[in-house]
Amino acid sequence: MQPDPGADPIIYFDNAATSWPKPAEMIEAMIGGSPGRSGHHRSLDAGRIILETREALAELFGSNDSLRIAFTKNATEALNIALPGILHSGDHVITSGMEHNSVMRPLRFLETQGVQISVVSCSGDGRLNPEDVLAAIRPQTRLLVVTHASNVTGTIQPIAELGQIVRDHGFLFCVDAAQTAGALPIHVDEMAIDLLAFSGHKSLFGPQGTGGLYIREGIEKHLQPLMMGGTGSRSEFEVQPDFMPDKYESGTPNTIGLAGLGAGVRFVLAEGVEAIRSKEEGLTERFLKGLASLKGITVYGPPDAASRTAVVSFNVAGVSPSEASLELDERFGILCRPGLHCAPAAHRTIGTFSRGTIRFGFGYFNNDEEISFALEAIQSLAGGSTEQ
């Protein structure tokens, strides 16, 4: 297949890093300010926009109280509230061998402060076995933190099963949903999730600089904020408010970004997470089948599209990931991502630690033709390579 010369020459397969394109509504929401008559009305209108974003997210995550969601600038900040806020010297935390550095770095820091860490190994395709989590539980276990799906292999973890284990044992469950919010169904009650960290700029179609943390009722009593300061409430007191969401939302909010995020989440709700998932799974399946018929290609992660998000990491024999991605970009206009993807633990698990992988992250706006074109491009890379 030849690319259509009249078409946009870019094929964007880096949605696992940040989604592109964004729905038109998202751009409009960010441009169209609120036409308040006075400063005061304007400020209330800004508050209403942020509330609508909160409400849309609460609906998406199955929470009946939108005020349980605190906004942050990304999933990383949300995890940096959750992990150091919950874990103190003497506590034990369980995590998986597939985590992003946004989980691992805070945990490795906390380890130096006296927190005990168990990193439960995953299978070669990145799956965490709930039995292994059970075996890691100690009397001091305070938290299980896992990624809902890996940003390297797309491997989906059995979140509901893990949540049940945590609930049965009476500690807390934190889920890194950076890769899955908007891409897979999430229900904080059915999955027994206590803390849910999400990115706004990936499958929620918001702008960069948006994200948040869902906090189950009661947990805020024991969860320190990362920052303190003005929140617009209780100005007469010099102590930080102790209630949601103000406890975690100090300083003037990113109203323009959150307006865009709200439009992105409403787009997801209108299309339906199931419809989005089904399209992305179809694209992934087509790509995996196509790769399986090529020579010299190693694919990582689960063999079936149903067990992963729309993320596929692979290698081409004799070509480094960075060379491959440069070729894909310059010769074919295919944008993807090479390297370790901020997750060294995951690369140790799948056996690609120093080499890394080429990662394709498909999105809702990709199509079958782009997948077919990419498969031909990869075939030509594989064919053109000389085994060293």
Partner: protein
């Protein structure tokens, strides 16, 4: 003409107040956001005012969905 009697709901924060406003809007209960009257003195800036005859309707609409700190007669 008898003077209209009002009730105001005071919330912990603007987010709570705006959530309450949205609920009353959805339920078709007439209301108005007003700056917190000075003599009441909480400082979240705005509070929600309804006429006294709508107190019960407003209370049951908000009950269990958003917590208020105080309900004050004006």
């Amino acid at each position: 003409m008898e003077q209209q009697k009002y009730i105001v709901f005071l919330f912990p924060s603007v987010s709570h107040t705006l959530k309450a406003e949205k609920i009353l809007k959805e339920q078709g209960i007439a209301h108005k956001l007003i700056p917190v009257p000075r003599h009441i003195g909480s400082d979240c800036g705005v509070c929600l005012r309804v006429t006294a005859d709508r107190q019960d309707a407003a209370e049951s609409a908000l009950q269990g969905r958003v917590n208020w700190e105080e309900m004050v007669f004006l």
